[in-house]
Amino acid sequence: MTQPTTTLDDQFTAAESRTRRSRKKSLSSNMAAYGFLAPAGFLVITFFLVPVVIIFYLSMTNLSTSNFTTDLSAMQFVGLENFRILFNDQFAAKIFFNTVFYVLVTLSLFNVTLALIVSLLSTHIERRAGFAFRAIWILPRITAATVYIMLWRRLAVEAPYGIINQVNTLLGQTTYNYLDARPWEFVIVVNGFIGVSFGMIIFTSAIESIPKDLLNASLVDGSTILQRIRYVILPLLRWPLLFVVTYQTLSLLTSFEQILLLTDGGPGLYATEVWSLTAYHRALSNYFGNAQWGYGSAFAVVLVIIGVVLAVIYMRVFRFNELVAEPKIEVL
């Protein structure tokens, strides 16, 4: 968000120092630039900055159902008390490692690897077939989460409703509730199928933008199709790969609605509970309607901090600013 602003500002500063005429001009085009940034700026401020400030504040209060609904004055500023409780929470570590496991496995197996495989496959077959193939992989993404999860539940649950179990019954096998027996497998596959489309689109467009000559040259130089993928195509996908890793890490960290609908963090105590789901549970959906807004906010704050730190690390390690090409349009 800040990147283009700085670049524009730099240019305006440079322009300003040149002549008076261009100063006048640059002031007015400065206004134009802010004008163009305004809608995006408004959205970021309203839907990101303001909520973050609010949850930072809430995380330092003891706001919960007990004092909000009946006696607002009972709400107190408690400093870092919620965070002290959080770090001593006997389940916090489990939830933390659940989150790491969930993000790493889903990201590496599906959002990156399967996305790469789908885009490589679909760009190596007949164009229209490839297009149809990719369209299928977009379906999980564009299906409403509730509908999508109902489909999976229908697959997984006990006989006589569960489809897998109907097959089991026919084959004379014992039946399970798969969501109880294999919760992680289902959580990861269900989210992974949704996650494929993003990387797939990015990788496909990157592959298709590789000059045809380059691909032909590799074949003439003596490569097989697989060698060409390994020595030419994959190295040229370096930036898209890093981008997808970064973006999808952050995206997976904050996604919880599919897990909520599929296992609700279960079975049992926090088996598939991830951090963002905990924030939701604590703040908005605790047992007996006991919503601990303050404590839930503390979870959310930790997530925001992790996200921002990760984003900064990724940007540094992958040197994203090198990716952002200098604007080619001369600003007058």
């Binding site: 032909n216 003439v220 003596g222």
Partner: protein
Amino acid sequence: MEVKIENLKKQFGQVIGVKDLDLNVRDGEFVALLGPSGCGKTTTLLMLAGIYKPTDGTIRFGDRVVNQVQPRDRNIGMVFQSYALYPHMTVFGNISYPLKLKKVPKQEQMERVERVANTMGIGGLLDRRPGQLSGGQQQRVALGRALVKEPDILLFDEPLSNLDARLRLTMRSEIKQLQNRLGITAIYVTHDQVEAMTMADRIAVMNQGVLQAFDTPEDLYDRPKTLFVAGFVGNPPMNFADVSVMAEHGGFTARNESIRLQVPAERGQKAAAAGKVRMGIRPEDIHVVDEGDAVTAEVVIVEPLGRDAMLDVRFGSDQFLVLADPQKHIRAGDQVKLHFDMDSVQFFDLQSERSLLWN
């Protein structure tokens, strides 16, 4: 390696890329495929490389039919207009790539890459990446990559089009010399006739997917077999006028309402019986003279070309290009007298557009 192309055809859906191409390239020969953009040159080359499968016809390398042979089993080197260097590899990586794929031992790879790089004059650039090289250097790397595996056939697809004029001149003679020394059969695609004329042993002229002529540069220039070839080869292009050739007074005359020209007997004879024919004469065969049995014409445009001045002249309904001495200071609007040197005049049939002299 001999290359024999028979009846070669390539169709992309409804679009015809190449139509019934027949071409025999001798071992060690340098053949240019010359034609305007979109005439099917690249398509032909990519079929030779094995990237495109022919819709019909056969391609033979020596006696082997290669229609179904994968590119990697054809032992060809190819140079692309865009250079097609791998941007993520160094110059060394680029040139050694064909060797790596052939599993040539590391030591031998180094030696061969070094040898080729030194030949191409890029020995000092092996650690650079393509992005850090000039166009000319990139072109040499591309050439080195094509040569390093010691191919039987070299394919060039407009390799010099992206270079500036001066560099194009140097690279032209370098490529020609290299090919000559190595004796590798070369097929060179270009839309630049000067390139084709100066480099090739023989030139295949193509238009709209169809082979128009396959001849030595001299034959194409002096004895064009079709109207297309006559008009396409030569710069500035040949002038055309529709005339009738008559036998008169023991000689032959070509005439229409505004000109009447004596034609040498051996040429006039062949055109005389054909009724109305198209006469072709090159700008350098028309001279501005001060007197004599000349055609008088009006100068429409004068373009100074340095050594010559190119005149766009009009007489009757015909408009010709003529080269004149710039010292004469001819201006637009002047009347000039033209002498036609008819020793190399061409005649074409109006219907078939084929030469009446050379078929």
